[in-house]
């Protein structure tokens, strides 16, 4: 067989056409003014904060947008030796669970506290997937204030999405499991009969932000992936994407991909909250941890709770409905008007857009096409606003601008696609590098989106940065979305694996920042408010050292009479009351992390000396021109020796007996 010249020519042209169709590198995709749009000159500040989930790092990172500069990594679910989070005595209870101390978490999604459907800049909520938990961070201090464990759940993925006035943070289980009060020692093949899903509603105290599990919904065994609140007309409803309605328990890759349509579960939480108030539901025995950091003692406490209120959705009438959704839906996103619910079926070749008003009508007219374990399934056509045809491959997540446009990430075809909510026509598509998971539009899940920027959070990085061995950073890509066409501006690297992220107007947060902790309000039991209060007390083999830190000395800095076998607690109070003046502390051979102590704060690090000798300690954070002088010595004597406990600094330092 031989090819003629024409077909060779055609193949060549086709090859050229294919290669020109999809830009292969940034040089083709980025236009001339991109650098100017992301350049934030030295001394200037970014317009947006972006809070980015850290995935398997367990933490949350904060970036400035549009510069893509990393501002901070906030310790949430994993220990952090840099600050001492999870190492200091005060912070250890934050990582307590019903399984004991857990040093790591898998952090996927974030929500800002909302007032009337918009970000109010008070708190950030973060989920932990593996050992189901939800954290609350205070946006005045950028610190984790509270962590609550979610019982009856496994894989807290559909979380921590929030209602439009921060009434509840939601936690939907990814893996269905037997409930904690049921016998779990059963065959895995009894999945369909014995396993259940759990949707938890965590109430938020409007003043303090404190979390409490108000109630849980027990549901048929499916996998909950993501969810979002209704708003405007749909306020009071929550929409959960469900996959594995096949109820598969092995080889889910194949067995959970059988049905053409799975569901979005619409839940009228407002009505259910009323039922709960009226006394509906039953108390179920379980065990879960609730950990709270006290702002004045700088100390966390962990409480194990032993029951939770459960309502079975099969027993509830007129509050839960399944919307059929093609196919294995991932994102479940509600547009700013609250009318449209977008299901992103990751195996579907179209994007269904559901109408809330049509859903209300269908419920009223009982347009059901059957039921799923006793819960009505609405007729697909009756609730459908329309479908976006051929949007791309592998739609995952959708966010919105303020002009009626939606933006959907396409994992398989590596692109972001802009389309119009009313006409359902695709307006623009831009390639991403590569395989975008979540995307974020500034304010894109709020009632009033800011628009302006979009970030694609990519799973594959490959050739985007200088290579760093087999493991590469995950890549983020910033787009300008002010025009008809989206414009790629910038790549920037991230920590861990970003899943969902949020962008908030910097003005909402930056002026409320705490600069110090007021030392007058410090009620830590071992605080030393001034060097006069620095002291050492021995209780058996426990030694408590109330030590002060200020530029640039530690008091006491000469300590004698510590013995092998002692448990020594350095309670470190930073006496500074000025912004950006932390002191760090460590001691030679410490089998622990350092602690970073902020102005006005007290933190405790435990040390167990193993051998006799002279052991130096020092400040780890360069604090002044005399930082290298900020140090001291502990004299460790053998166990049982009679070296007296003596300590001091300068004139008060212990002198050798004459």
């Amino acid at each position: 067989m031989k090819l003629n010249k024409v077909s060779i020519g055609l193949i060549a042209v086709a090859a050229l056409w294919i290669s020109s169709c999809k830009p292969k590198n940034a040089a083709q995709a980025v236009s001339g003014d991109a650098a100017q749009k992301v350049y934030v000159a030295p001394g200037q500040l970014d317009e947006f904060y972006s809070f980015v989930s850290g995935g398997f790092s367990g933490q949350v990172s904060v970036y400035g947008i549009p510069s893509g500069r990393l501002l901070k990594v906030l310790p949430v679910f994993s220990v952090d030796p840099e600050t001492g989070y999870g190492f200091s005595e005060e912070s250890k209870p934050m990582l307590n669970t019903s399984h004991g101390f857990v040093p790591w978490g898998d952090e996927h999604h974030l929500s800002f506290s909302q007032t009337n459907g918009d970000y109010d800049g008070r708190w950030l909520f973060a989920n932990e997937n593996n050992t189901p938990r939800v954290a609350r961070l205070d946006l005045k201090t950028f610190t984790t204030k509270e962590i609550i464990e979610i019982p009856n759940s496994a894989g807290n993925h559909s979380s921590p999405f929030i209602t439009d006035n921060s009434e509840y943070v939601i936690a939907g289980t990814r893996f269905s499991v037997p409930f904690d009060d049921e016998n779990g020692d059963i065959p895995i093949s009894s999945y369909a009969e014995k396993f259940s899903g759990a949707l938890s509603f965590i109430s938020i105290n409007p003043e303090s932000g404190k979390m409490a599990i108000d109630f849980q919904l027990k549901t048929p065994p499916v996998n909950y992936d993501l969810s979002h609140t209704g708003k405007g007309p749909s306020s009071g409803w929550f929409f959960f994407s469900c996959y594995n309605t096949e109820k598969a328990y092995t080889l889910l890759e194949v067995n959970a991909s059988q049905r053409d349509k799975d569901f979005i579960l619409a839940v009228n939480w407002k009505k259910i909250a009323e039922m709960v108030k009226a006394g509906k539901g039953r108390k179920v025995k379980t065990k879960y941890a609730h950990n709270v950091m006290d702002e004045n003692t700088h100390t966390a406490t962990s409480t194990i709770k032993d029951e939770v209120l459960v309502l079975d959705i099969a027993d509830l009438k007129d509050v839960c409905y399944y919307i059929p959704c093609p196919k294995s839906p991932h994102g479940s996103d509600v547009d700013p008007s609250g009318e449209y619910i977008v299901g992103s079926g990751k195996l579907a070749s179209l994007i269904p857009v559901f109408s809330f008003s049509k859903m209300q009508k269908a419920i009223e007219e009982k347009k059901f096409e059957g039921d799923f374990d006793g819960i009505p399934v609405l007729n697909y056509e009756a609730v459908l606003h329309g479908e976006v045809k051929k949007p791309g491959l592998g739609p995952l997540h959708t966010e919105f601008d303020a002009n009626g446009n939606a933006y959907t990430s396409m994992f398989v075809s590596s692109e972001v696609v802009k389309w119009n909510l009313k006409t359902l026509q695709v307006i623009d598509r831009q390639p991403t590098f590569y395989s975008t998971g979540h995307l974020t539009v500034a304010g894109g899940d709020a009632k009033t989106p800011y628009g302006k920027y979009l970030v694609a959070w990519n799973k594959i990085t490959k050739d985007r940065y200088l290579p760093t061995g087999p493991e590469l950073t995950q890549s983020a890509q910033l787009f300008d979305i002010t025009g008809e066409k989206m414009q790629l501006l910038l790549d920037f690297p991230t920590i861990g694996e970003p899943h969902y992220a949020l962008m908030i107007d910097a003005k909402k947060i930056k002026d409320q920042q705490a600069r110090i902790y007021d030392i007058n309000k410090n009620n830590h039991p071992y605080v030393a408010k001034g060097e006069k209060e620095a002291k050492i007390t021995r209780e058996g083999n426990k030694v408590h050292i109330n030590m002060t830190l200020i530029r640039s000395h530690l008091t006491p800095d000469n300590i004698e009479g510590i013995k092998v076998g002692d448990e020594v607690y350095f309670h470190l109070t930073n006496l500074e009351q000025d912004w950006d003046l932390p002191h760090g502390f460590t001691i030679k051979g410490s089998q622990n992390a350092e602690v970073l102590v902020l102005p006005g704060e007290t933190k405790t690090i435990k040390w167990q000396p193993k051998t006799a000798g002279i052991v130096p300690f020092y400040c780890t954070d360069f604090c002044s021109a005399l930082h290298q002088e900020m140090s001291g010595y502990v004299r460790v004597s053998p166990a049982g020796s009679s070296t007296p406990l003596q300590y001091g600094t300068g004139d008060s330092a212990p002198k050798a007996a004459k």
């Binding site: 001394g43 600069r515 110090i516 007021d518 030392i519 408010k529 001034g530 060097e531 006069k532 002060t548 200020i550 530029r551 640039s552 000395h553 008091t555 006496l575 500074e576 009351q577 000025d578 912004w579 950006d580 003046l581 002044s624 021109a625 005399l626 300068g650």
Partner: protein, 164 residues
């Protein structure tokens, strides 16, 4: 030949200007006010700086001294124990910073009030404080004192200096 010299001199002056600018920023970089101050050139402000009064909220109209108020001085001492005595002794001996003995004779009352509440700006501008910094090498921290607290500390300083 002459042209070359001029160009050379011009180049040198640019170099000095750039160097000077860099120096100012380095000095500021350890303070909390670094970004705010970097925006306004320090040099022009120095000219209007009053070394008797210092810089801040206080002058002779709002700092008035009367007979010593012992209760007030007592409060001042308690605050100083938490926030000042890590670095200052009440004698004339230097610890991290200079001893307090005689300070109310060396400085005016408004100067002290300003320095306690607004140290960063004054460390950058006051010639005597700058000379002091060369000896101590640690910038006095802003301890975020309320105005009443600062005034109570001043009263204690007066008591320490034997005011009646």
């Amino acid at each position: 030949m002459r042209k070359n010299t001029i160009i050379f001199l011009f180049g040198m002056s640019l170099f000095f200007a750039a160097c000077n600018n860099g120096g100012t920023q380095t000095a500021n970089s350890t303070t909390s006010a670094a970004t705010e101050q970097a925006a306004t050139p320090a040099a022009s402000d120095t000219k209007s700086y009053d070394p008797k009064r210092g810089e801040g909220k206080f002058d002779e109209t709002n700092v008035q001294l009367g007979a010593l108020d012992a209760a007030m001085a007592g409060k001042g001492k308690a605050i100083a124990e938490a926030k000042c005595f890590s670095c200052h002794k009440t004698s004339d001996e230097r610890l991290v910073g200079p001893g307090w003995k005689g300070v109310t004779e060396r400085r005016t009352a408004p100067w002290l009030m300003n320095f306690i509440t607004n140290p960063d700006a004054m460390i950058d501008k006051d010639p005597e404080v700058q000379a002091q910094l060369e000896i101590c090498l640690v910038r006095m921290p802003n301890q975020n004192l309320a105005e009443t607290e600062a005034r109570e500390i001043l009263e204690f300083m007066r008591q320490n200096d034997g005011a009646k």
